[in-house]
């Protein structure tokens, strides 16, 4: 398996938020990291994207320590879409998406025909083609989120790591995004995303990892993970589990 953590503790300012987590992420799946606020799901994601260095334990990529693997190479393997992004001044959408190609371009960042093709495709997938000549600073929050997604897609990596990608999006764009994950997944990409919405995760993802207080509580297929007891113990809610009438996936309804 490509990405795995081994007794990883990670956090900020010497304070561990993720504690001693060992986890193997199944390749070729859409994986959701779930859990209440502050459980460490985003922190774990950042550690896997090598933004944060573990205080203890190791994260492995293809069996080697992730944090001693050349960063330039990893940039062609793992792409990250963070929860919030700065707004770069004077940058057009097409420029920003093109930056996703940097791991492949030379020192001056010149783009090849192939690069242009991938950029075009990424913009189409994220539905931002018509925005391409606009400045990023002029876009709405949801539009911007999709532009950044296009940039991440242009990075063209087998693994995609996303931190609450649906936050600023309208419902229709959320649905589009989750469907896009399916398409990408079918094309062979592994998607690891932090999600807030348990029902969204259960419907669109095929592997759920549930965390609480920095530890992994359970993981597996939505059908086996999503139980009345789990919702009670992790999210402190009393809920019923029903089957989604459309997708036939489990869904919870809070009592």
């Amino acid at each position: 398996m490509s990405l795995s953590t081994h007794n990883v503790s990670v956090g900020y300012h010497g304070q561990a938020i993720v504690k001693n987590v060992s986890l193997t992420l199944p390749e070729g799946k859409i994986i959701a990291l779930l859990g209440p606020n502050g459980c460490g799901k985003s922190t774990l994601l950042k550690a896997m994207a090598r933004i944060l260095t573990p205080m203890g334990g190791e994260i492995h990529w293809q069996g080697n320590n992730l944090h001693s693997t050349p960063s330039q190479y990893l940039a062609t393997q793992l792409a990250l879409l963070p929860q919030t992004q700065p707004i770069p001044e004077g940058i057009k959408v097409k420029d920003l998406v093109a930056y996703g190609r940097s791991p492949y371009t030379g020192f001056w960042g010149r783009l090849t025909k192939e690069d242009h093709k991938i950029i075009q495709q990424a913009m189409e997938q994220a539905g931002v083609t018509e925005l391409s000549e606009q400045f990023v600073s002029e876009l709405s929050g949801g539009q911007r989120q999709r532009v950044w997604l296009a940039m991440t897609l242009a990075q063209d990596t087998p693994y995609l790591l996303l931190d609450e990608p649906t936050t600023y999006m309208d419902l229709n764009h959320q649905v589009e995004l989750m469907n896009l994950f399916k398409t990408l997944n079918e094309a062979g990409k592994t998607i690891i995303t932090v999600l807030h919405d348990i029902n969204q995760a259960a419907r669109y993802c095929n592997h759920l990892v549930v965390m609480k207080a920095g530890e992994i509580i359970t993981q597996g297929e939505p059908e086996s993970v999503l139980t009345k007891e789990l919702l009670e113990s992790v999210f402190s809610v009393t809920a019923q589990i029903h089957t989604d009438p459309v997708a036939h996936t489990p869904m919870c309804i809070v009592e």
């Binding site: 992004q85 700065p86 020192f107």
Partner: protein, 319 residues
């Protein structure tokens, strides 16, 4: 295409202002007289070859270098209000110059640039020592501004307690091209090697603009890029300040105007920022020379007159 046109027009503007600078001044010269000024036997030789020409060249060098330094700092600090001033380099250079003047009042003022240069570099090293290479951009900027304020007040203190000795330093602190010539140009030339290094950071600066997380995920080392960019910026600023004194707001305004003209891609932004910086400093010096001849004002005062309102406008816009 648009960026290419903008750059071409800017370069044309630089050439035009240089021509104006050669022609205008306390005495106005015709085209023929300017040409004759390159001949050592001409009566205009001093005015053209020894005065206006070196001054224009110096304005081009200093304008370009200070502006480039500003673009690098804004690139890594990711704040539109950032400029080389937030590193405390100019103020450190000023303090060193004033200290030299007070402790060794008998020392020739030809040592002033060297003292200023070391002061600027020491200030940068001190900032680096205080912050470390892994600290965030904001911490760096705040520490830098605090240090800059400290150096400025030390300068004020020395000026009040030792008014006699600091007078030459005071004149130099207003940022002027007056009285500088070929010698100073020679002193600046070695620092031009920093420019290709700065350009080589263009791609990485683009990625830094996307935030630390994304830049890392795209394979860029944040701390290395920041260290390089700031080191180059410090070298550019310190060398310019040591020659001309701090020319306020140049490093702030030039990258801003350039960004509005050609956008934020550093491959285009960096060279265009330099052109804009050249235009600003050439104009400032020209106006300082011809506004009320034979009175010479400081180019630094001119840039401050344009720069201060611009800075306030930015402040309101950014909030």
């Amino acid at each position: 295409m648009k960026t290419l046109l903008s750059s071409f027009l800017l370069a044309l503007l630089v050439a035009f202002i240089v021509a104006l600078s050669l022609s205008l001044g306390a005495v106005s010269l015709s085209f023929e007289q300017i040409l004759s000024g390159f001949d050592a036997s001409s009566e205009f030789y001093f005015t053209i070859h020894e005065y206006r020409l070196p001054r224009s060249i110096l304005a081009i060098l200093v304008g370009g270098m200070m502006a480039l330094s500003g673009a690098l700092v804004q690139g890594v600090i990711r704040n539109p209000l950032a400029s080389p001033d937030v590193l405390g380099v100019s103020q450190g250079a000023g303090l060193a110059a004033v200290i030299l003047m007070t402790i060794f009042p008998s020392v020739s003022i030809f040592w002033l640039p060297w003292a200023a240069l070391s002061g600027g570099i020491i200030a940068a090293l001190f900032l680096w020592f205080l912050c470390g290479s892994h600290s965030g951009a904001i911490k760096l900027a705040i520490t830098g501004v605090a240090m800059a304020a400290l150096y400025s007040s030390a300068v004020d203190f020395l000026m009040l307690t030792k008014p006699l000795e600091v007078n030459n330093a005071l004149l130099w602190l207003t940022g002027s091209l007056w009285g500088r010539g070929w010698n100073q140009i020679t002193m600046l030339l070695p620092w031009l090697v920093l420019i290709p290094f700065a350009f080589s950071l263009a791609k990485r600066l683009n990625l830094i603009g996307l935030g630390d997380d994304v830049a890392t995920s795209l394979g860029t080392s944040i701390s290395m890029t920041r260290l390089w960019a700031l080191t180059i910026a410090v070298g550019l600023t310190a060398s310019c300040v040591s020659i001309c004194g701090p020319i306020g707001f140049l490093g702030l305004i030039a990258p801003h105007l350039a960004r509005r003209l050609v956008g934020g891609r550093h491959q285009v932004l960096l060279p265009c920022t330099m052109l804009v910086g050249m235009v600003i400093l050439l104009l400032a010096d020209l106006v300082a020379r011809i506004i009320n001849p034979p009175i010479e004002l400081s180019a630094g005062i001119m840039t401050a007159i344009i720069g201060a309102p611009y800075f306030l406008w930015l402040l309101f816009k950014v909030r």
